[in-house]
Amino acid sequence: MADPLFKVGDMVRIRDAYPIGHCRTPFYTRGLTGEIERYCGRFANPEELAYRRDGQPAVPLYRVRLPMQKIWPDYTGAPLDTLEVEIFEHWLEPDD
């Protein structure tokens, strides 16, 4: 099995995609750029499991840290506030 593509500290972009089926990438995070906070291990793909397939090969899962002000341009909290969200590798691309 290939190594995980990303490492802690890498900047990544969450894909700006809108599939019709079940997925676990929250709508509000799509298209945003953030930093890999940690690698969580590999997990069966929920987009397959939802339709009773086996979800293999398992997909690397990461936690991505996003500044609140990047998610919500009119964010009213403190500038240093952040959000961390779990995103599967096939939803991430390098942010060069």
Partner: protein
């Protein structure tokens, strides 16, 4: 409990506390009875599951937090592998992939699942309604300080509020800050200060004067 005399058994728990029999409650009875009749599940397995559920609750998470406050080696294990930390004190580990989130003077963590209601059941029991509510799930990711204020929690701008959206396979346990004046307390005494809501991250642990 009613005396059921018809041909199929009603494997009900006492249901006097339940509200009116809605269509969904009828469906619950029907589905459960059919699953048992078809030997998909058994009554004994169900009772075992009820007992397992009864053993869950915030007292489990509180044990972990109190131990982390007291034992630097355990805190270190919580940081590296919180699932292993849960197992090491005999808690039901099963499916849990746990991450411990430590509140400090610089960072305050709060947990949500915007997509459903993911929650560390074995450690906290079943979640409160507000955690599953549309309003919490929609708003805490956008206005966390407003939601925290609803719980009486206000934080200075110098503290980073870090919201964790439990969107996939990980589950989260917030480790609140250890209350002041608790030096020398035993783990059992400390655990009394650790509430469910403090482990979701919407309030701090209880202060001594709250006891």
């Amino acid at each position: 409990m009613h005396d059921h005399t018809h041909h199929h058994p009603h494997p009900n728990q006492p249901d006097e506390e339940d509200g009116p029999f809605t269509e969904y409650r009828l469906l619950e009875i029907a589905l459960r009875e059919l699953l048992i009749e078809k030997d998909v599940i058994t009554q004994a397995e169900l009772h075992k599951t009820y007992r397992m559920m009864d053993d869950r609750g915030p007292h489990n998470g509180a044990r972990m937090v109190a131990k982390a406050w007291s034992d630097p080696a355990y805190l270190d294990l919580m940081r590296r592998d919180a699932t292993a930390a849960a197992k090491s004190i005999g808690l039901e580990p099963t499916w849990l992939n746990l991450i411990a989130l430590e509140n400090t003077d610089a960072v305050h963590n709060v947990v949500v699942c915007t997509l459903c209601s993911c929650y560390p059941w074995p450690l906290l029991g079943l979640p409160p309604d507000w955690y599953k509510s549309r309003a919490y799930r929609s708003d805490v990711v956008q206005n966390p300080r407003k939601i925290l204020a609803e719980f009486g929690t206000t934080l200075p701008e110098t503290v980073e509020v870090r919201v964790h959206d439990s969107s996939a396979d990980m589950r989260y346990l917030v480790v609140p800050k250890r209350p002041e004046g608790t030096e020398g307390w035993s783990e059992e005494e400390l655990a009394e200060l650790v509430t469910r809501d403090s482990m979701i991250g919407v309030v701090p642990a209880l202060a001594i004067e709250d006891l």
